[in-house]
């Protein structure tokens, strides 16, 4: 396994009085695709939110490239290269697609590579290229998801986290998007994926964490996890 780029150490976090994460720990190796799977409410999204600082961990640490970044504000983490494509796309609906991409490249580091990244996004998502001048809110769900991932790419991420990418997409589109993620991984991007479509996620990922009740229940190479009957039962109820 290659060098760890992001480390989550015994993080506890939650919303108000409701604690969701009870000492979650995981490691994201550079250049690989890692996935977190688990039931609704297991704390997958909260894990990503804790990493990005939207939710402030009450204890534990987030280590990124060897530095403790736990207390940094969200935007500063994005500047460092910790970029999240949030659940539900969260595009700037009243702004054009191009402006959305531009906002992805807000940070100085990302701006420096603006042209290159824009080209990259257009290359991976030709559909996005056609829609550059359209208001993001008027796109279809799949196109919005492409813009959301594209916007994340514009931020020149060192770790790109994607939350529930296939949510509400047709199987075909989901498949296409996963294909793209695979290409990105192959191009050397580090990815951390939270996904409800376990089959796809596990098929694609190099390494997987199974979350339950705010703790890592199980971890291992994705192949192993996907063939674990216990997991299938616990998660799919089959």
């Amino acid at each position: 396994m290659s060098e760890t780029i992001l480390k989550v150490e015994k993080v506890e976090a939650g919303y108000g009085e409701v604690q969701v994460l009870w000492g979650t720990s995981l490691e994201v190796p550079g250049g690989h695709l890692t996935t977190i799977v688990g039931a609704n409410g297991a704390g997958k999204t909260t894990t990503l939110r804790s990493i990005t600082g939207i939710v402030k961990p009450t204890s534990g640490r987030i280590i990124f490239e060897g530095e403790d970044v736990t207390r940094l504000p969200t935007h500063a983490k994005a500047e460092l290269g910790l970029v999240l494509v949030p659940e539900g796309r969260q595009l700037f609906a009243d702004m054009t697609v191009e402006e959305n991409l531009e906002m992805g490249a807000f940070g100085a580091r990302a701006r420096a590579h603006y042209d290159r990244n824009l080209e990259r996004v257009c290359h991976y998502f030709p559909r996005v290229k056609e829609r550059l001048q359209q208001k993001a809110g008027t796109l279809s769900g799949g196109e919005q998801q492409m813009v959301a991932v594209g916007r994340g790419l514009m931020a020149e991420p060192k770790v790109l986290m994607i939350d529930e990418m296939s949510l509400g997409l047709s199987p075909l589109l989901a498949q296409q998007l996963f294909q793209t993620l695979k290409e990105l991984r192959d191009d050397g991007l580090t990815l951390l994926l939270v996904e409800q479509n376990v089959h796809l996620a596990l098929a694609l990922a190099d390494y997987a964490y199974v979350l339950a009740e705010g703790k890592v229940h199980l971890e291992g190479p994705a192949q192993e996890v996907s063939h674990n009957d216990e997991i299938r039962k616990a998660y799919l109820g089959l």
């Binding site: 009085e17 609704n40 409410g41 279809s140 796809l200």
Partner: protein, 251 residues
Amino acid sequence: MTHLINVEGVSKRFSGVQAVNGVSFYMDEGEILGLIGPNGAGKTTLFNLVSGVIPPDEGRVTMLGEDITGMAPYNVVNRGLARTHQIVKPLNDMTVLENVTVGACFGREKLQLGKAREHALKVLHTVGLADRKDVLAVHLTIAGKKRLEVARALAGNPRLLLLDEVLAGLNPTEVAGMIEVIRTVRKETGIGILMIEHLMQAVMSLSDRVMVLNFGELLATGTPEEVANHPHVVEAYLGDPNMAEKLMARQ
């Protein structure tokens, strides 16, 4: 025959997205109907259409023969249809008992305050929240809030109960507890229950019938067994086990 509820061809569009498309189904008293489907399939929208939170573009909803299409939610409640919310909506700054009393006061039976409080206490016992009755709703755990949702809906003595993912996010013990609650409710009151649920085990074991929604359309209806083996359902919702291999193969 007059069904407890009869939904005929309801549709709803949101700014270009067809959220629910011509869905029809019926339910009878004492029946538990499971509603499953991928996220974004339109399950909650269907709930909203039935419970009057949003009016449908097309179609008709009748309850015991009475047309309740597009009726304001409080009027729908008065006729005996109660629901819970997927994203819980506790009345935060009120106690658990007060929350449930609201349901009892303004539900189908419109109880007076004193009676409503008594009834609410009973319901709290049923769902297992009695010991937390004086706690502010905001301070409940997520599982507690889910129970509260159920309790509030039940307190109005509905004929039909719509449960929107009341098991999601609960740990196995809590899930077991909630399933027990649902069973008890059905046994004691004999009302109809329509439940959206992702947790297949629960859906399969609780439901008399299951219907599957995908992209706003009804994909299949049948007994749990029939549905679980329906190939389209497996592909759309349970996930195509072979898709991963297909994906790998393409490169």
